[in-house]
Symmetry: C2
Subunit: 419 residues, 2 copies
């Protein structure tokens, strides 16, 4: 089954927002062992939408669109889909019913016939929206199935969950299982993995399926696309792949298997061990804490943090000594150790991680360059610090600083787990 | 000039990463008064890349691609572009030179002739990469200009900045100025803006250019696309539009004009007033601090925060009383006021904002539902609190909680500024 995705969003092509719906749609399809074949982003202009539809029509069985279903005049998806199929807009009692339900959910009254939501192209079915006002749409046209959802990510997601599942079940032709075996590595450049660390690896992996190598924040994800006629055979292939990696010289660089994120793994492992941790964040500015608290259940192990942006906070709250700040500057191994130690004391933590560095645009008065960061560790009384020299603009550096801190945290949690 | 963008990235269609390059490319073009006409995302498969190129070829003057230039075998952009134009891969001394430079920048040695980077399709020019290893590419083919950059956002961005500017200058046919006039509103649903608050507004705006309405986090951005033959005439139109909004009943909902972000505006205004602020973050988990510290220069006004995830931290560090926590629970107006007051005292702040709520998946034991959040304010000794009942999953709720907190902060900063 080939699935095409049309993103109707001038705001994405104008850079006002980043498209999140492709990733939402891809994750949704993955859980149903399917994938997006091609995605096209067009402006909210009839001519462009028609062209996009025509392109996807050529090689898709299912065409999903996002955006342009709202109440304002720049929302023209419905009319344009109708034009594409030669169908006229008409009053739809079913659409009124769905709109009324959507409005009731938010304790508001649907204006009725006068509202644009009351009209649909002939033969279109309105779809209830469990998280917003605008109804979705579905129809069939020349053997293709169409589904349109709103552009707001939350609404688009609920539209897929509420309405696409039965459509896919109906269309599904085989029980083939499709999935990705993913290996997460750190501290080795992409290029070296397959040339120096394990030159045979790529060929070995390719025997299982399409191989991909994806540089991410301070690491590389290696993926192998697996297909199998049954779930049991899929499992078998996964086990064989896992053994291959366990035996590879790449092993010391692997920090995880599968889609579990770094944050999720830290929370899971720390909770298993009953550990309490937190961060003393200067240069990462709260990002470490934010990343950890995206994980449901993080409150079981994450106690809290101090974002010590100003020097006075490092001193008064974390007890970093004035002498250290003067002699070594706040961006130093000494300061990072004192920050971690101070936080561990203050919040009674098993593991405290500190981050102090220069995210730019300017570095230190002493010539320390932008991108320099110290990650300090206080683990049950033992202090240590590592320095990293990273590249990027302020946003990228904050991401990398937090990544270095989370790698450090996972390392310490795993060390404690291993006793 | 029509610009097409081909994103070569299976990882985007598989939902492993979110595409950031469209937004980077759009922002880059905007600063040159240009825009992306259409974007297509395809898998790293020759057949799909060829189809994408063919579609863009139809109606583009410039075709930019991102991705597939790396050193591993799944990187096939170069070969496929060559095939599309019927050009063969050949050894390129210029490519070796560029690759050598890229490697030297990272203190590594380019392996030379044996490396894939040493080969280019006939007639292609290699482009130096100031932030990574893989060289970019450019060429012309049947009146279209092609430029290919790496998929890593940082490298893609530097490729545009280093190499696309002269190409655009050469191609540019007129001096027309294109830009967007943007108005940022809050606390009013999209639908009501143009039907109840100001029913004449849309027509008035449309007289200036294409109008768009974009719901964002707890607000709506209204955009008007302006074009003008000269910069002066562009400025004139902007001024007229601004007056129109200043006189509209929508005015009380407008928190800003233009692309300045909420975070940037807060930092600018607080710095102008010499104010010191910080956050006591429970349910937002560090996100308020992270958002503020993305702004260069935020250290001039942002002092620091306490992420008080565990109750013990609320008590020991912020001095929230045990009685308050017992009588009212930690998610209450009382607790939020004490959190803000405690933080203001601890860090000596002019404005302290606190956030306490339920981001899910579970709500309070007392039946308080997921999405409930209290934002407390301590402003030079005066305490207040507001409650919000928001919707969404954990990630969306954290974003909305932080948005409510930042709106509150801006409000207080503006109040102080107005004396």
């Amino acid at each position: 089954m080939k699935i095409g995705f049309l993103i109707i969003a001038s705001e994405v092509l104008d850079g006002k927002i980043t498209d999140l719906n492709t990733s939402i749609f891809a994750s949704f399809l993955r859980s149903h062992h399917l994938e997006i074949n091609k995605a096209i982003t067009v402006r909210d202009r009839a001519e462009d939408i028609l062209q996009g539809l025509a392109t996807l029509f050529e090689d898709s069985d299912v065409i999903v669109t996002s955006g342009g279903l709202g109440p304002t005049r720049d929302d023209i998806t419905k009319e344009t889909l109708g034009n594409f199929m030669g169908r006229k807009l008409e009053f739809s009692p079913a659409a009124v019913e769905v709109a009324e339900e959507n409005y009731q959910r938010f304790s508001r009254t649907f204006p009725g016939r006068e509202h644009g939501y009351a009209y649909l192209p002939e033969g279109f079915t309105p779809l209830s929206n469990s998280t917003g006002f605008a109804p979705g749409l579905t129809t069939s046209h020349r053997d293709r199935t169409f589904l349109s959802g709103p552009g707001v990510p939350r609404e688009f997601r609920s539209m897929l969950e509420d309405h696409l599942v039965p459509i896919l079940k109906r269309l599904r032709r085989s029980d083939e299982v499709l999935g990705h075996f993913i290996v997460r590595t750190k501290n080795v450049p992409e290029e070296k993995i397959f040339s120096e660390v394990d030159p045979k690896l790529w060929d070995q992996l390719e025997a299982f399926g399409e191989v991909s190598s994806l540089p991410i924040l301070m690491g590389v994800d290696i993926g192998v696309k697996l297909t199998a006629p049954t779930a049991a055979e899929f499992e078998e292939k996964s086990t064989a792949l896992r053994s291959l990696f366990e035996a590879s010289p790449l092993k010391p660089h692997i920090w995880g298997f599968g889609r579990e994120s770094l944050e999720e793994k830290i929370v899971r492992r720390a909770t298993e061990q009953g550990l309490r941790f937190g961060f003393a964040e200067s240069a990462s500015g709260g990002l470490c804490s934010h990343r950890i608290t995206t994980v449901p259940g993080s409150s079981r192990c994450f106690q809290g943090s101090v974002v010590c942006y100003d020097e006075s906070v490092k001193q008064s709250l974390l007890g970093v000594s004035e002498e250290t700040l003067k002699t070594y500057t706040p961006v130093s191994a000494e300061a990072s150790r004192e920050m971690a130690a101070g936080l561990a004391r203050l919040l009674k933590l098993d593991v405290a991680i500190s981050v102090t560095g220069y995210a730019g645009p300017t570095g230190g008065d002493d010539g320390t360059s932008v991108g320099t960061v110290y990650v300090g560790r206080a683990v049950r009384g033992e202090l240590s610090a590592h320095v990293y020299h990273l590249k990027g603009d302020r946003e990228v550096l904050k991401q990398r600083f937090s990544q270095a801190a989370l790698y450090a945290l996972l390392e310490e949690v795993e060390k404690i787990a291993e006793g």
